[in-house]
Amino acid sequence: MTEKVIAVQELSKDFSLGKHKSIHILKNISFSAASNDFISIVGPSGSGKSTLLKCLSGLLRPTNGSISIDDMDPYQLSPSQTAKMRRTTLGFIFQSYNLVPALPVFENIVLPLRLAGKQVNRASVEQLLKKLNFTADMDSFVTTLSGGEQQKVAIARVLVTHAKIIFADEPTGAVDANSKKIIFDCLRTLADNGACVIMVTHDIELAAMTDRSLVLRDGQLIKRLTNPTASEILAEIERG
């Protein structure tokens, strides 16, 4: 059984440049997503993918339109409700700057659990990292990790919190082919087990393996593809 977990209606976002000028980054975007959904957002660089993901996840207040996550408007919550939602319901994997530089690998992974005052099991985290093919030491500091390793730590963090909705911005951007497959399979498994995964990606092959693709161009949602193929996506992106 699936339930609707994200609903976006006529969302738009402007950035103001100076006093009287503003640019429209997102224009009138509407869609919805359910649990078990694995959605990819594709589009040329600068088309507003990261901005859309930030608006969706409650990090950037849209100029117009409404968003509901898990039947709640993330922009109407009190600070402590927001915090609670972030550490229990949502999972974030960013393009960069995913990890708290002050904390070692293990503490980064379990940070949401610590903030929620939950039990932390070191052995299970260790196992998780092994499954992700993560070879560096759990007590090393994250600034010494490679981009791909950092991405894996961020994935592990999402895995331990059992997030219901996962936002990933190019999670495979900085990793080799082997790790890319591991990370993607992880997200796939999460979606199959009932999470809703929304992933921004430049990788058409990966996007073709998701359930649905949203194609963005110049801030507009120009196409929704269900069970897309690589050639379909490519055609949409390149159509000018």
Partner: protein, 460 residues
Amino acid sequence: MFKLIILQLRYTWQAWIGALVVFIAAGIVLGVTMIGAISTISVHLGHGNYNPVAFFATPAIFGLITLMLILTGITRLLITKFKTDYNLWAILGANPNQLALLIGGQMSLSGMIGGFLGYFLALPIVRIYYAWVISTPGMREFPAIKMKLQLSSLTLTVLILGAFIGITGIINAKKVFSDGHKIHRLTKKRSCNLSILGWLWCVMVVGCLAYVYLLFFQGSTRLAALFGGHSLVETYSQALLALIFLMIMTINAAETVILPGLVKLLTLVFPTTLIKTFKTAYWNVLDKKDFLKTVAVPLVIFSLIASFFMYMIFDLANVASKRNLAEIVGTLSLFLGAPFLIILANTISLTIISSSERTTSIRQLQLIGFSLKDLMTEKRIEAEIYGLIVFIQATIGNALLFVPILKAADKTHTYMFDSWWSIFEWPAVTGTLVFLFILIVDDSYSYKIYSQNRFNVTQK
């Protein structure tokens, strides 16, 4: 949580060295009080009219009040410095209370370190100071006491300072983090960096100030009606105290409007066309309003209070002729010494903490062809702007204060020793100190970056 606080502190320790300057200063003040008081109590001399315990309590009280006020600025600066980190904590689900605890915890730990170091620096100070006190006329009745290090006074200093700084830090940080979340219509910043409530408050304070001020120009009956007092001297002392209090509140409330205006005014004074780096310096200063405010406000207020005390003691109370000068210096240092030490340390702390942000442009400037000499000139002009702003503002404040004081002297038939020149004294001292601190810290920072970069370039 405790572990997370330690880890965060370990990662950001360099920034805390800056804050440590102020914490050590506070540790010295509290250390003087604790060593003095506990040494007295342990030889059972803490009683009577000349009770050293009460004497030693004064610096701690004045010092801690000052510390509480300036910690707002330091907390804000430390949060801004690592705002991307704390933002990530928030995204991962830390609520404002947890973030405040994270900041307050780090502040408390550094406060304890400051208390520990300050305590040992306090010992020679309290020995010399007390030896001088008991040999000064008017204070000879204080009993002779051997000041010594004790575990109890050390523990008290460390714990009290840690708790005080931690709690103040949590309260300040809580305010910063909850402000970021909500958008209140009334507290939203509007024109000139003030919210509607800010403007209302500002108008109210200025109104009160203007009212009391104008009363000085009328007969003394209305002042007496408002402030009471058995004699005319008492009435005027109380009215002046109220006046200075309102002036301080005005400075606090209107600073975000006054300061940028003053900086812009300076462009008219400086030979802008002669100095090519002036424009860069000018924008750098305007860009860092937070720093400008946190540095300037405490110093201007201090200069105002110091001048006020001087006028009250030397002129109005006219004690200079009646009492020994050493005694006056003793009293002044007892009341103003601790705030002075802490405000000076605050200036140094703020300068060190924000130095890396204020000089981020150094690398770019260097790339577009600024030589080290140009950079130093730029930093010198920046320091001059800060110094001048403090000087001008403090002088204006003093001028405003001096008129009612002249009136009061006139009405109470007191002879004024100080002339109009005296309004420049404290502003000149504080202005010069700001100039020197900022110049020294920023120049050494620029030099460090510059030589590092040169080294990197030659290596490649």
